[in-house]
């Protein structure tokens, strides 16, 4: 690389300023757009979470009204799920990194890619409008359960429409990634030479394409029922409320794997880079992603173990749920086997990848109590479930997202953050996280139901501990995000490959030129091959 092409950060289009970003079809610029939007919504979601915890310091109706609390937990869920976790890693890092990892100039459909960002923004704006218009923000929980969601006079219709629109963004991204992976790999990049992050995006994209339309149909049915008074779900009009729950979870359970698979992909890339060692069980990890994507379709009704399904249905879904635990276990064992006899350096991305392993292991193992019928009946709809899914979604996907940001930020910006600040932030996140969410699981097992704006006195101590945990956690999160803002201004410049990592994205400049590679690379080996401690 003797001649230096201008990086993608330098404007090369006829548009100027902001327009050169929001109308760009460069996958890297779109990835950055997504990253910024997603981080803003994530921060808002965190703040709402902190405000919710504040009310839980004491039982009763102090601080703000019950209606406000009910709106807060709904909006917190909608933002964190539809605007942060689902698009999170695929739309931000997938967009930026995927074409680089397979040696492509861009995704297969660059303009469709830009459209999907716009659809995301429009969906997000509609969701915000739903909060501040009509009869106030929806108060149903993010799951919009009928018949309550049909009868409440809050702004459910618009919020549901927003989720419907956001779904299309997800479908378009999935479609684009599948086509890109099938058609755009550089010479020599066979399927089993693809980095595992790309594999995880491939599995995710199939779920996005196949499951999201079911959500779209379900949400349209809710809107139709609210506007036209049809009797689809409301038993008062001859409908069936359980039909809604089935349809909702047929999407929303696979969506859990849309959320977690890309994070597993990040970890699969980060661990070998900081172990200076080839990943253990490449094929086992790649196939377990596909297995999770497939079996993940068949377990939706474990969200409905108390809804009154037949005993046989409950038994079958419990059995299938336990099966989906196995590929996740296989991944964890292979990651740890990779560390065996490695040469490990615990740089910030590795620190967060290991944190992912620990917190996700807790999230996965505590899920076993949800899978077993007898115990799930007790913990269903309690704080146990809230704690459990925050371990998987925040401890899993969230930490994976953080690891991705730490790992690829130098690639995206050519700059390095202050590693010391990151370690201090990590300590806060780790302590606060466990204080908050483990306490939630304990009080949930003891019977504390979720979505309660007040609570019986016996749960008071637990709520105080959890709230204190939320302060420590939020401090850590904002310290973490602040480190990147500082790095944008003051970060030290880095070389093309600061981690000495092996995958293709590190073989071009940091930040990469608009066309990604000066010459399209030709791949001759696996994605994680080291020789004498350096990329082979």
């Amino acid at each position: 690389m003797t001649t230096t092409e201008p990086s993608y950060l330098e404007n090369q289009s006829h548009r100027k300023g902001l327009a050169s970003w929001i109308f760009s079809t460069d996958h890297k610029r779109i990835g950055v757009l997504y990253l910024i939007s997603i981080l803003i919504f994530f921060s808002v979601g965190v703040l709402i979470g902190v405000v919710m915890r504040l009310k839980m310091l004491w039982p009763g109706t102090h601080l703000y009204s019950a209606a406000a609390y009910n709106a807060f937990f709904t909006v917190h869920g909608v933002i964190q799920i539809f605007l942060f976790i689902i698009p999170g890693i695929p739309a931000a890092f997938g967009n930026f990194i995927l074409p680089l990892q397979i040696g492509a100039k861009d995704v297969a459909f660059p303009r469709l890619n830009l459209l999907s960002w716009w659809v995301y923004v429009i969906g997000a704006l509609l969701a915000l409008t739903a909060l501040f218009s009509g009869n106030g923000p929806p108060d149903t929980g993010w799951s919009f359960y009928v018949p309550y969601s049909l009868r409440t006079n809050t702004n459910v219709t618009l919020a549901v429409f927003a989720a419907f629109i956001l779904g299309f963004s997800s479908i378009l991204t999935g479609l684009n990634f599948i086509t890109t992976i099938h058609r755009m790999r550089c010479p020599g990049m066979s399927w089993f030479r693809m980095p595992l992050f790309t594999w995880s995006l491939y599995a995710t994209a199939w779920i996005q394409i196949l499951a999201t339309p079911i959500l779209a149909v379900t949400l349209i049915m809710v809107m139709a029922e609210r506007i036209l008074n049809l009797g689809l779900f409301d038993p008062g009009r001859g409908g069936d409320p359980l039909l809604y729950q089935h349809l909702f979870w047929i999407y929303s359970h696979p969506a859990v794997y849309i959320m977690i698979l890309p994070a597993m992909g990040v970890v699969s890339d980060v661990i070998p880079a900081f172990c200076r060692k080839n990943i253990y069980g490449y094929k086992a990890i790649a196939f377990s992603s596909l297995a999770i994507a497939f079996v993940g379709y068949l377990v939706w009704a474990h969200h409905m173990f108390t809804s009154g399904m037949s005993n046989t249905a409950r038994m079958v879904f419990s059995l299938l749920t336990f099966l989906v635990a196995i590929p996740s276990g296989v991944k964890v064992f292979n990651w740890i086997a990779t560390m065996y006899k490695a040469s490990i350096k615990i740089e910030p991305p590795m620190l967060f990848a290991m944190t992912f392993l620990f917190l996700f292991a807790i999230g996965g193992l505590t899920g076993l109590l949800n899978g077993a019928l007898a115990t799930d009946i007790n913990v269903h709809e309690t704080y146990y479930v809230v704690g459990h899914f925050h371990y998987t979604m925040f401890g899993g996907t969230g930490m994976g997202f953080f690891a991705a940001l730490l790992y690829w930020f130098p690639k995206m910006t050519g700059k390095m953050y202050n590693k010391r600040t990151i370690v201090v932030a990590w300590a806060h996140i780790f302590v606060g996280f466990n204080l908050l969410y483990f306490t939630m699981m304990i009080m949930g097992w003891l019977g504390m139901p979720r979505r309660y704006y007040s609570y019986p006195p016996q749960y008071h101590t637990y709520h105080v501990v959890a709230t204190v945990g939320s302060w420590i956690l939020a401090t850590g999160v904002f310290m973490f995000l602040g480190a990147f803002l500082v790095a944008l201004k003051k970060g030290t410049k880095v070389a093309a490959n600061p981690w000495d990592a092996t995958t293709l994205e590190w073989k071009t400049a940091s930040p990469p030129p608009t066309e990604n590679f000066q010459t399209i690379p030709t791949v001759t080996g696996g994605p994680y091959e080291f020789k004498d401690g350096h990329p082979a």
């Binding site: 009763g60 060692k277 064992f333 740890i336 620990f358 007898a374 009946i377």
Partner: protein
């Protein structure tokens, strides 16, 4: 007060301890290995990674052992679940109605209450009905829960094995006052239960002859006794036992003051519950609905006698 429990408590807890124990061991194994490798093979001690060869046998092993383990967990969970679903034929059937935002109980002889009274060691079947949206009938002490779905005939059953009281919550979000859709289950000795069941009164005979007090059924029907207990123990609100003449620290407009509970205080507390809040309790009591002067007098007169 004793803590009530049931056959289902025992069945579920044994599954819980098995799964939680196995999970704790697995977590310890995974985390322990991770930390151990991170220390032992740290670059400062181990500058050159060594090649490790993939082993299909190892992959199969760590697929099959967890599979066997989770199948055992599934089986235990399912077996205990069946215990929770197979109702004995001689069970006492109580009709439970969930509505925004309270629970109602109706017994085979037509008796209606807002607290669930059940006899010790007798199977009880609860038929769950909702008149509006989906609720969740949940007794944490019995580890029991089932959604109360409009238009659907869901049920639960249990056999109480310990006397005492336990909370009943609504577990499925049902709107504004979801958090206050509470009641209690009281497990009585068979004799006490029969006495209550066959009498015309709605509450239980204890050391106090509660049934002789006209205010008790009234307070029951107004829902007072869900939060205020009559046995001196703390509920969501203070116990009503010995309330008259008691000196309480209350908070009025954010300021603490000491009051002796008298006629005037009780009347104000019933009509404007938020005006003076007993210290240590939350400001959550709604004004008593449809309270006539006659009701006020009856209730206050009854409270005077609860010594």
């Amino acid at each position: 007060m004793n803590r009530a429990y049931a056959n289902t408590t025992v069945a579920v807890d044994s599954v819980f301890w098995f799964i939680a124990g196995a999970s704790a061991l697995l977590l310890l194994l995974v985390t322990g290995l991770m930390v151990f490798f991170a220390i032992k093979y740290h670059r400062s001690r181990h500058p050159q990674a060594q090649e490790t060869y993939e082993s299909t046998l190892l992959e199969i092993t760590w697929t099959l052992i967890p599979t066997a383990l989770v199948m055992v967990m599934f089986w235990y969970g399912y077996r205990a679940f069946l215990t929770m679903r197979n109702v004995p034929a001689d069970a006492l059937t109580v009709k439970v109605t969930g509505m925004m935002w309270k629970w109602g109980f109706e017994y085979p002889n037509g008796k209606k209450t807002e607290v669930l009274f059940v006899p010790l060691n007798k199977p009880v079947r609860l038929n769950l009905k909702s008149v509006d949206v989906i609720h969740g009938f949940y007794i944490p002490a019995f580890r029991l829960k089932e959604d109360v779905v409009p238009g659907k005939d869901n049920y639960l059953w249990f056999q109480p094995q310990g006397m005492g009281a336990a909370d009943i919550y609504c577990s499925q979000f049902c709107g504004l006052k979801h958090a206050y859709m509470m009641s209690r289950v009281e497990v009585l000795s068979e004799a006490d239960f029969t006495a209550w069941y066959t009498s015309t009164n709605t509450t239980v005979a204890g050391t106090l002859n509660l049934s002789a007090l006209p205010g008790i059924p009234l307070m029951q029907s107004k829902g007072c006794l869900i939060c205020h207990r009559l046995d001196g123990t703390r509920g969501t609100g203070p116990s009503l036992l010995g309330i008259f003449g008691r000196t309480e620290t209350v908070i009025e407009n954010g300021k603490e003051k000491s009051v002796v509970v008298d006629d005037a205080y009780l009347r104000r507390a019933l009509k404007e519950p938020s005006a003076e809040i007993v210290k240590g309790y939350a400001d959550v009591m709604p004004p008593v609905p449809n309270l006539t002067e006659q009701d006020l007098e009856t209730i206050v007169a009854t409270l005077k006698q609860l010594k």
